[in-house]
């Protein structure tokens, strides 16, 4: 009897020990997995099927599927934007393009993902190549949609690629002439957007009138571009107006980037003009930017006293940005809106180190893309940029060069000018492991986070106007 009881107790104890061990091991494993999850959250976008496969899976309910993937992309962009961990710029937004591809494959006639996707691709990972590819895909699928080439033209205008912008604007005029464009405009299905996006009635009416006047605006813009060149002042004013209309963090970030870049280009343009005036009046180039900034200019026919360059800049910017933002921009000189500085080039023109670095980052993204293509095709990395150009020339001669590469490298393929303007610029950049490496300096994210007063949103208190940065 006692033996039986002892056996019972022992077996109960054994079961309890096994239970405790099991609970401990499960808890320990769980904690371990939790720690892993926190370190590297599983990327669900990785498992998103391709657009064509998705079309099969959703049994023709493509529209709602496209909406859900689009919303997913908005959330992804927002989350990545706020993510604090230091990731490389390319990897940080690596799934953005795929999300837009799937959305547009599911609903190829939905115009917004092409336009908004291109804006985000160009603004967040600074990937102009993919942004333009997305827009071109949209243009191919919707030749009647004039808003897609308009977006492409805006992007090119902002980057100073006037010739490409002109092409898109002409395409936009042609699209407007198609009967489908008139149908889309008349049906007003996508048109109630101004009212929907929370604009006041008067503003919405103005917006709709503006859209109806687009053909005229395009015609005048084309002629202005053909005659004069760039219009960064309008880009700055548009971005400032957009910023003052929204409190949304993602939209403000995107518009803020456009604002900074357009402002930097506008100031470069103005300072270069005054450098020209300096040369004309003193018959020599200024020694450096500080000499130019200290110089006072006066127009003979105006009774105004001679005014220094920062004050002239403030007066020019004030009508577009408001007195406070104009004063702040002028007071920051020679610092540029990208956290670096304006400087005088040896050829006497003014440039911005921030803009040059930003352009270099974009060019490297595109060149590294083609270097990757080279490595895949040739089975090994390119040793120099001449290798890459040789390969591209071979592709072009055999009619295998894609439209994107042809637009970027032109024909016969050649490297775009180095942003510094120096002919030795590319030669000073060696290829390591099949990739061009960015010289040391701030990243695009850091440049866009540099202190700068931005126009406040509608919900922002007036005192916060003076707050810097993002």
């Amino acid at each position: 009897m006692a033996d039986w009881r002892t056996r019972q107790r022992l077996s109960t104890l054994g079961l309890l020990a096994a239970l405790a061990a099991a609970v401990y091991s499960v808890t320990a494993l769980n904690e371990r997995f939790d720690a892993r999850r926190q370190k590297a959250p599983p990327e669900t976008v990785l498992y998103l099927p391709k657009g064509r496969s998705f079309q099969f899976m959703c049994l023709g309910y493509n529209g709602i599927a496209a909406d859900l993937v689009w919303i997913r992309s908005v959330m992804y962009a927002g989350r990545q934007l706020r993510s604090p961990e230091p990731q490389s710029r390319e990897r940080k937004y690596q799934w953005l393009e795929k999300l837009y591809q799937v959305t547009t494959d599911l609903d190829p006639h939905w115009s917004r993902p092409y336009r908004a996707g291109a804006i985000l691709l160009a603004a967040l990972p600074q990937d102009d190549l993919r942004a333009v590819n997305l827009l071109r895909r949209g243009m191919g699928r919707n030749p009647w949609d004039w808003e897609i080439p308009f977006q492409a033209a805006q992007l090119d205008l902002l980057r100073g690629r006037n010739r490409e912008a002109l092409g898109y604007l002409k395409l936009m005029s042609a699209a407007w002439e198609r009967p489908c464009a008139r149908l889309a405009a008349a049906s007003a299905q996508p048109r109630p957007a101004p009212a929907a996006s929370g604009l006041a009635d008067a503003e919405a009416r103005h917006w709709l009138e503006l859209m109806q006047a687009y053909p005229k605006i395009v015609t005048s813009t084309i002629s202005r571009l053909e005659q004069e060149g760039q219009d960064y002042a309008s880009a700055v004013a548009d971005a400032a107006a957009g910023l003052s209309r929204t409190d949304d963090q993602v939209i403000r970030e995107v518009l803020g980037r456009t604002y900074r870049e357009a402002l930097a280009r506008l100031v470069v343009e103005d300072l270069s003009r005054w450098a020209g005036l300096f040369r004309a009046s003193k018959r020599r180039a200024p020694a450096d930017l500080r000499e130019l900034l200290a110089t006072k200019f006066a127009k003979r026919d105006e009774g105004r006293p001679a005014t220094a360059v920062p004050e002239l800049l403030r007066l020019e910017l004030a009508p577009r940005l408001g007195p406070e933002l104009a004063a702040s921009t002028a007071a920051h000189l020679p610092a540029d809106p990208l956290g670096m500085e304006f400087y005088l080039r040896p050829d006497g023109t003014v440039s911005s180190r921030g803009l040059e670095r930003l352009e270099l980052i974009r060019l490297l993204a595109t060149l590294n893309h083609y270097l990757g293509t080279y490595q895949q095709a040739r089975g090994g990395p390119a040793r120099s940029l001449d290798d890459l150009l040789g390969y591209l020339r071979w592709l072009a001669d055999n009619n295998q060069l894609g439209a994107g590469a042809r637009a970027f490298f032109k024909y016969p393929p050649r490297l775009p000018p180095h942003p510094s303007g120096s002919p030795e610029g590319w030669k000073a950049m060696p290829i390591k492991n099949g990739r061009l490496e960015l010289p040391p300096g701030p990243s695009a994210e850091q440049m866009f986070a540099a202190p700068l007063k931005l126009p406040p949103g509608p919900g922002e208190p007036a005192q916060k106007k003076a707050g810097g940065g993002r």
Partner: protein, 283 residues
């Protein structure tokens, strides 16, 4: 004959609307339409696009679910409860019985879909895309607020056409469900109807697939023949999907009447097949 068929259809309708599943489906559909507003808000400026897509999808899925859940048990229930003896002992032909049942269920589905469509259109027109009131010196009156709220989405002909063609699609699926219901058990009928629905929604890919097989030179004559037969056997339901013109304003296709004719022809074939099967059944 018409009076007998109509009497059967009305009775089927009365019986079907007593089914609580219908109300549950309707409530789920309305909840989905209501929820679309929240989805739209995070779509960055394309709220109306999301609301229209959700509304059209909800209306279409409601019809499909009614077809599958109610349609597939339609004939079987009459046989199971032996009520078919009472009906067929009257001067009613078996073909009339099938047609009456079909029309009754189509009426049920159309009423439910019309209710959901009305809810969706009111929501879309009145509440969706609500703009803030313009600032005025005096507070706006209640009438002015209501009038201002009618600034939501614009109801276009393409949107109404898309809703109507969802109903046409459901009429075709119900014909398929009735055909299977006259031959087998509800569960098997539900499975087969769902398969035909899925195949019908994807059948417009079959010619592309055949072209692809031809290009890569695989698949013999047998597979080509099988795909050809499958293409003609399954209903081409993509014909009734007018979501793209309704949402993206790309223009309605010009052959809408031909599409309705196709739906009528396919439903007629299914009902004739159901009648043939039902005439041979012994019970």
């Amino acid at each position: 004959m018409i009076a007998r068929v109509w009497a059967l259809a009305l009775n089927t309708f009365r019986e079907a609307v007593r089914d609580r599943v219908l109300y549950l489906l309707l409530v789920v559909g309305l909840a989905a339409v209501g929820f679309s507003r929240f989805l739209g808000e995070i779509s960055v400026g394309d709220e109306l696009h999301v609301i229209v897509n959700t509304g059209l999808t909800a209306v279409s899925l409601l019809g499909v679910m009614i077809s599958v859940f109610v349609g597939t048990g339609l004939i079987y229930k009459e046989l199971d409860k032996r009520t078919v003896y009472t009906i067929l002992s009257k001067p009613v032909r078996r073909g009339e019985f099938i047609l009456g049942k079909y029309l009754g269920l189509v009426l049920t589905a159309l009423v439910c879909m019309a209710l959901l469509s009305a809810g969706f259109l009111v929501y879309y027109r009145v509440l969706a895309g609500e703009a803030p009131m313009p600032r005025t010196a005096t507070p706006p009156s209640g009438g002015a607020v209501f009038w201002h709220q009618l600034h939501g989405g614009r109801i276009t002909g393409a949107l109404l056409a898309a809703l109507c063609f969802s109903m046409v699609e459901v009429a075709v699926i119900i014909a398929v469900a009735v055909m299977f219901s006259s031959a087998s058990t509800p569960i098997l009928s539900a499975v087969l109807t769902s398969v035909v629905f899925a195949a019908g929604r994807l059948s417009h890919w079959i010619p592309d697939f055949m072209d692809y097989l031809g290009r890569i030179r695989t698949g013999g004559l047998a597979s080509q023949f099988f795909l050809q037969v499958l293409y003609y056997l399954t209903p081409n339901l993509s014909m009734f999907d007018l979501r793209d013109p309704a949402v993206n304003a790309v223009g309605l296709p010009p052959d809408l009447s031909l599409r309705i004719l196709y739906a009528a022809g396919y439903a007629a074939v299914m009902l004739l097949a159901a009648t043939l099967i039902f005439r041979r059944r012994r019970f």
